[in-house]
């Protein structure tokens, strides 16, 4: 690698310089000893001169020699360091094909952290011009923790990076070089990044992001200029893949947003269409019904004059009652589409429930069906529309009654006030045959019914009404054991209404 060639030259230069000094010292010694061939032993003055010259040489040669030896030693010892660098550069090349931002980020921080034995590594990137630098991936600390501190463009560290360009920021050096105020801000940023070093990732002149990392023990790893040079090179290598991955990520984000918006739009359009249709049908159907019913009634009134047989009379009566039933369906549809219309008033739910149970007992055959009801807690007045609430009670109880029609059984209704949640709980429990799992999903769909004589609007309207009040409907059912319909309605004005009581009706 280029990096190491440059380094080797430097090493040789120092080595030759040190050796040169030694050679000079040795030559001087030789010259001195040769100058007086007669004497066997060197004179003290000559010895001193020799020694002093030697000292000068050694002193002059010490530093370069030491440096050369240490570098040789390091180069040999850090054979894996060059391996590390090779690995990271190889990774950088590999990254060019990775388009998933998180995969790329994880690859970078994990490899970086593992091979350099770092404590924490975090990769930050900006998704677009002017946007904050947010964490992409972390190594050694949690992503959620890192997400808490995105770096805005105005952060001290970002200002420093943009003013210094591609230089690696070393925490201690940078902070020492700054004034007191800037140093505080900077150390705050470094702390937020949990970093001792910050390597900006530049793509040409654009700051794509940066790598922030720290060592477990600052003494154990000390990077030198060459390492920083390498970090810069690594950063510039990953800049392009990171930029691409960011673009892809932004695009995917936008696509997702668009899809969400579209599906929401489809949903509301669908809802609106259903409401329009419902209201249209409800209105249009009424006049024909009025005509059918009216004419049948006139015939009934004229029965004596016209000599209508009892059989025909029965039929005419059936026409009148069935048109009334059809008009009830239309009314339900309209109730669903209009959303009330009447201003809410304080309602006594206990009273409404009792009335509803009485009405159902009167209207439908409940032979063999026992309906009980109970109320717990001081049930407050509920702000709402009496017709709508009655509709909810009526539909749920009627549903239970119809499920018991064949075999009979028990129905238990209960209204409770959940003080802590400020919710009114209403449930209907029956001992009917239960609802198969696949039907539960469709239960609240309009026109879903398992009984032929039904229209399948009751539960649908119930759900619409409950939702309008910000409540929820839940169904639990076990085949052969029965079903539970639970309604929760938020109640914001807790005022006392019903007292605790239990009633039973057969």
């Amino acid at each position: 690698m280029k990096l190491y060639l440059r380094r080797r030259k430097k090493l040789l230069k120092k080595l030759f310089l040190g050796l040169g000094f030694f050679v000079i010292g040795f030559l001087l010694l030789m010259m001195l000893s040769l100058s007086e061939p007669g004497s066997d032993v060197l004179r003290p003055s000559q010895i001193y001169l020799f020694l002093s010259l030697m000292c000068i040489c050694v002193i002059a040669a010490y530093k370069p020699l030491d440096f050369a030896i240490s570098l040789l030693f390091r180069n040999w010892l850090f054979k894996n360091k060059s391996n590390t660098q090779f690995l990271l550069m190889h990774l950088a090349e590999e990254l060019e094909t990775v388009l998933n931002l998180h995969e790329l980020g994880n690859l970078v921080v994990n490899t970086f952290g593992e091979v350099l034995h770092l404590k924490t590594v975090a990769l930050y990137a900006s998704r677009g011009e002017g946007r904050d630098y947010e964490v992409v991936s972390t190594y050694g600390w949690s992503l959620t923790e890192a997400r808490k501190s995105p770096m805005s463009l105005k952060a001290a560290i970002m200002e420093l990076i943009s003013s210094h360009g591609q230089y690696v920021l070393v925490r201690d050096k940078v902070i020492r070089a700054m004034g007191w105020k800037d140093a505080t801000r900077l150390s705050h940023d470094f702390n937020a990044l949990r970093a001792s070093w910050v390597v900006p990732v530049y793509r040409k002149l654009e700051l794509v992001g940066f790598l922030a990392f720290s060592a477990a023990d600052t003494e154990s790893i000390i990077f030198d200029g060459a390492d920083f040079q390498f970090f810069k090179e690594f950063a510039s290598k990953i800049a392009a893949p990171l930029r691409n991955a960011l673009r892809v990520d932004v695009m995917q984000e936008e696509i997702k947003k668009l899809q969400d918006e579209q599906s929401e739009l489809v949903q509301t359009t669908k809802q609106e269409a259903i409401e329009q249709l419902a209201s249209g049908i409800a209105h249009e159907i009424h006049n024909p019904l009025a005509i059918i019913s009216g004419k049948a009634q006139i015939l009934l009134l004229k029965k004596d004059k016209m000599g209508i047989s009892p059989q025909v009379e029965e039929m005419l009566k059936a026409i009148v009652t069935q048109t009334q039933r059809a008009s009830d369906i239309a009314r339900k549809l309209l109730m669903f589409s209009q959303g009330g219309g009447e201003p809410p008033e304080p309602l006594n739910l206990v009273q409404i429930l009792q009335d509803t149970i009485a009405l159902i007992s009167y209207q439908t055959s409940i032979e063999g069906i026992r309906i009980t009801s109970a109320f717990h807690g001081d049930i407050p007045f509920f702000e709402g529309n009496v017709h709508e609430i009655r509709e909810v009670f009526f539909n749920l109880i009627l549903n239970a009654v119809q499920s018991l029609q064949e075999k009979g059984g028990k129905i238990h209704c209960e209204i409770n006030y959940l003080e802590r949640e400020k919710m009114i709980e209403f449930f209907v429990l029956d001992t009917g045959p239960g609802i198969p799992k696949e039907s539960i999903q469709k239960l609240f769909n309009p026109f879903f019914t398992t009984r032929h004589e039904n229209v399948g609007l009751g539960l649908f309207v119930t759900k619409q009404i409950v939702h309008r009040y910000g409540g929820t409907v839940r169904v639990e059912s076990r085949l052969g054991e029965g079903s539970l319909f639970l309604v929760l309605l938020p109640c914001r004005t807790p005022r006392k209404a019903g007292k605790e009581q239990e009633t039973a009706m057969v």
Binding site: A282, I291, S293, G294, Q297, K302
Partner: protein
Amino acid sequence: MIRLLVVDDEIEICEFLKSYFEERGYQVETAGSGDRAIHVLEKFDPHLVLLDVQMPGMNGLDTLKWIKTYHPAIKVIMVTALETQEKIETALRYGADNYITKPLNLNYLDKEVQGKIVNLIKH
């Protein structure tokens, strides 16, 4: 003879109400719209008007307002299909004497009409 005006944009409804009330001995005229009703009303001078709320053009509420402004003595019973409570209240505020919902229960309607007429004849 008591004069009755039936206003409804559905001819069939007008027809069967007409035949029903004629059977009962009333004199009945029909009108298919609010404008037509005003036109008929001037000549016919009914004791009571059965007025549909929802009609194209001049609707029931506007017609009611007109009747109660120029002929306050004429009784008006509104015939509503699926009108909201709000609309019904507006009608009562404008001076409607009562309202009845479709599909019509003719017995009930007859009683309502008679009740209004009895009052009228007494005065």
